[in-house]
Structure formats: C-alpha cells, structure tokens
C-alpha cells in the first residue's frame, strides 16, 4: 500500500470520521504526523485537514518530537523515572525513535 504523509492537528470531533476510516487507512505519529493511504479519499482528507509532507520531512518532524520526549525523560531523576507510572516495570526504557512506514 502506497502512503502519503502530512501534518495535521487533531481538532477533535469531525477531524477523522468513521466514513474516512472506511475509505482509507491512516495512522498518527508524534509531531502531528499522519501517514495516510494513497487513494482519492486520502488525498481529499489531507486537502481538508492537513499539509502534505514528503516522507523525509515527516520523519524529521517525528524524530524531532521524539527527541523532545527523550530530553524530557533524560532530565528526570532516577527516582522520578522509577516512580513514573508509565515506566515499563523493571525495565526503565526511554522513548523510542519511531520509523514511519
């Protein structure tokens, strides 16, 4: 499946409808990046809600956002990391790079 890439800020209700989801596939990633199935409905949705990006541009935006998350995580004390409820139990893992499909 070919993909399109865009940046689109989730504005809440109506941003993505059930009909949209039945017409094309899409996935959201850090940095308001969305990967959209390349068909006529997907193109129309990007024109309605977002700004088209190349894959490289979209990956750079997501990388920058994950780097922000990592920096924030690294700035925590060991105690804060241990007590963070989202840590992975015994395995304290920092936010991971996301590779766009």
């Amino acid at each position: 499946m070919a993909n399109l890439y865009c940046v689109a800020v989730n504005r809440g209700k109506g941003f993505i409808t059930s009909q949209d989801r039945n017409n094309f596939d899409l996935r959201g990633y850090p940095g308001d990046v969305l990967v959209v199935e390349d068909n006529a409905h997907g193109v129309a949705w990007i024109n309605r809600e977002g700004t088209t990006k190349t894959k490289a541009e979209a990956q750079a935006i997501t990388d920058a956002k994950v780097d922000e998350y990592k920096a924030a995580w690294d700035a925590l004390t060991e105690a804060e990391k241990t007590n963070a409820p989202s840590n992975a139990g015994a395995n304290i893992l920092q936010p991971q790079k996301v590779t766009l499909p």
Binding site: S18, R27, G28, L34, Y69, P85, P95
Partner: protein, 327 residues
C-alpha cells in the same frame, strides 16, 4: 416496468429527516432536506471504525474512565503527578466538572456519568462516588492497588488485580468491600469488561506481553481464550458476552505501542479496526457496549511524558443508513 408501488404496495415516503435506522430496515425514503433517496440496511459485514472525538481539555494518562460513548466521565489521571481533575463528555466535547477529593490515577472506575465510582489506583485504597455533581469519599478498599480492573455500577462493583501483581478480587455492595475468590494469575494494568456479576480480566503485566484472559462467573475466575496480541495497560468496555479491549503496549526489548482493537464474543478474541493513534495508559467509557465505545488520553511515547488529549470514538453499528446512488 415494475414500480416501487407495484412491488411494495405503497409509494416512497418523503421525509424531512431520516427515521430511526433499527425500525426501518429494508425501507426506502426520500430525504427532502438533502434531496437524496435513502435506505436502512442491516450490516452483514463489520463496518467497525475509529473516528475522532472531542479532545480532552487537559493532557493526561491513566485516568479513570466510565460511562458510555455519548456521556462519559474521565476522573483523575497522571500528568507528572496525580490529578484531581474530572471531565465529562457529551458526545461532542469535554467540560471540566468538580474535582476528585483526592488525587488519583490508574484507578478502577465504573458506572455512568451521573452515578460513578473511582476506587484504588495510585491514590491507594481511596474510594469515591460521584452523583453527577460532586465526589464523596466512602469506605476505603482493604488495600491500595495500582491499575486494577474495575467493572460494575456505583452500588455493585468489582476491582481485581493491580500492583504489585495482585490476585486480589474485591466486590463493592454499595456500603463496603468484601474479598472474594482470587484471580488465578496476579496482574496489574488489566483490561476490564463486564459487570460486578460477570467480568473479564484481560492481559496486563507482568510480563508486559501477557495475553492471559480470565472470566469471573459470579463465584470464581476461569481461564478462557487468550487475547491475540499480548500486552499491558489496555482499556476495555462491554460485557462478557460482547467485550472490547483497545490500545496498550508491550515490551521489552523496547516499548511498542498498540493500535490493535480486539472484540470478544463470549468465546474468543477477534482483531477489528485499529486505532488512529497507537497509545497506552488510556481511559475508556468502561460501561459502554463493545459496539460503541470511547478511548481518551494516554501516552504516545512511554516511558516519557507525551501525555495527550486525544479522544477516539469506536463504532461498529449493526444497522446503517445508506444513500442510494445510480452507481
């Protein structure tokens, strides 16, 4: 040429708005407001999909959640510390309402928007009830447990599991908590479906790839078929005959966020429409049916702090209204 009146015995009705779909399956009408011909149908193949709901007012992960898709409650949660914030959803947008008395997150939360309970969690053995306006403290649970499964109504509820890898199972009768038969496998951050009388404990951790599913039959917990994608920190809703779990994460070697949604038919789990935003530590409209539920908040890059306001609505209707076109 055959006419509609010749086949059906009456002409196509002209209506200014669509009738109730469940009551009109197989019927055709002309919608005079939109100038189109429409028909009500029963969906033979699933049309399940997630769509965008109104965003939460505040970023948070691990909130308590209950109610139904069009009338949900989001209680507490975590944004670098535990929260007391409570938000209500009306099917379109969230409104901030009176706070919890005690900050809490990763609680067992159940009931409806006008009569709910938020118990245990990071806040310890706390137990608060909500009357649609404000929260009141009530008899504490025997022990504080983080991330229990929670199901039921304000006066008939159940919390099970929770950290550290607890097997405990407590029922609330409107006045006090009582210990009942334990889970077979201790877990925390459990996905929960059902009622006080019959419930599911889905996945959870440790390990963070657990696929175990147990069913409470009113007396004891029995192992039933595993979920397809083992994970922890899912959210659930629905019943033991028609349940749903969504989101979560699994690890190691690194945290992988789940966009998977799985539905339970009383016997086995089936993958259905994926979330748009894979995330973990979400809240859900715990008491909604599996065909119409809500998922909100969560974390998109754990173990970090990108808590979010994203809200998604799941819909898998049995019936649909279709516009008739020449194609």
């Amino acid at each position: 040429m055959a006419t509609y009146k010749g086949i059906k015995g009456y002409t196509v009705q002209k209506l200014s708005s669509d009738p109730t779909v469940e009551d009109t399956v197989g019927q055709v009408w002309y919608n005079s407001a939109s100038n189109v011909l429409k028909i009500s149908i029963q969906n033979v193949t699933p049309v399940a999909a997630w769509s965008a709901g109104g965003s939460l007012l505040n970023n948070k992960q691990g909130p308590g959640g209950c109610g139904i898709q069009g009338a949900a409650l989001c209680a507490g949660g975590w944004e670098d510390s535990q929260l007391t914030q409570t938000e209500k959803y009306n099917g379109t947008s969230w409104t901030e309402v009176n706070d919890l008395n005690s900050a809490n997150s990763y609680s067992g939360c159940f009931g409806v928007e006008t009569a709910a309970r938020n118990a245990m969690g990071q806040g310890g053995s706390e137990n608060e009830s909500y009357d649609g306006t404000s929260w009141s403290e009530e008899a504490n649970a025997s022990a504080g447990r983080n991330g229990p499964g929670g199901v039921g109504t304000i006066n008939a509820g159940r919390c099970y599991g929770g950290s550290p890898s607890s097997v405990n199972n407590e029922a609330w009768n409107g006045t006090s908590w009582s210990e009942e038969n334990n889970l077979n496998t201790g877990r925390e951050h459990i996905g929960a479906c059902g009622t006080e009388a019959t419930a599911l404990a889905v996945a959870g951790s440790p390990p963070n790839t657990s696929a175990i599913c147990e069913e409470w039959n009113g007396t004891s917990w029995c192992e039933v078929n595993n979920i397809n994608r083992g994970r922890t920190s899912t959210s659930g809703s629905g019943l033991t005959t028609a349940g749903i779990v969504m989101g979560g994460d699994w690890n190691p070697p690194f945290v992988t966020l789940a966009d998977q949604t799985e539905t339970w038919d009383g016997t086995s789990w089936t993958e259905t429409a994926d979330l748009t935003y894979a995330r973990t530590h979400t809240g859900s409209s715990q008491n909604a049916p599996s065909t119409s539920t809500l998922l909100f908040g969560g974390n998109m890059a754990p173990s970090g702090s990108p808590y979010n306001t994203v809200c998604e609505e799941f819909s898998d209707p049995a019936y649909s209204t279709k516009t008739i076109t020449s194609s």
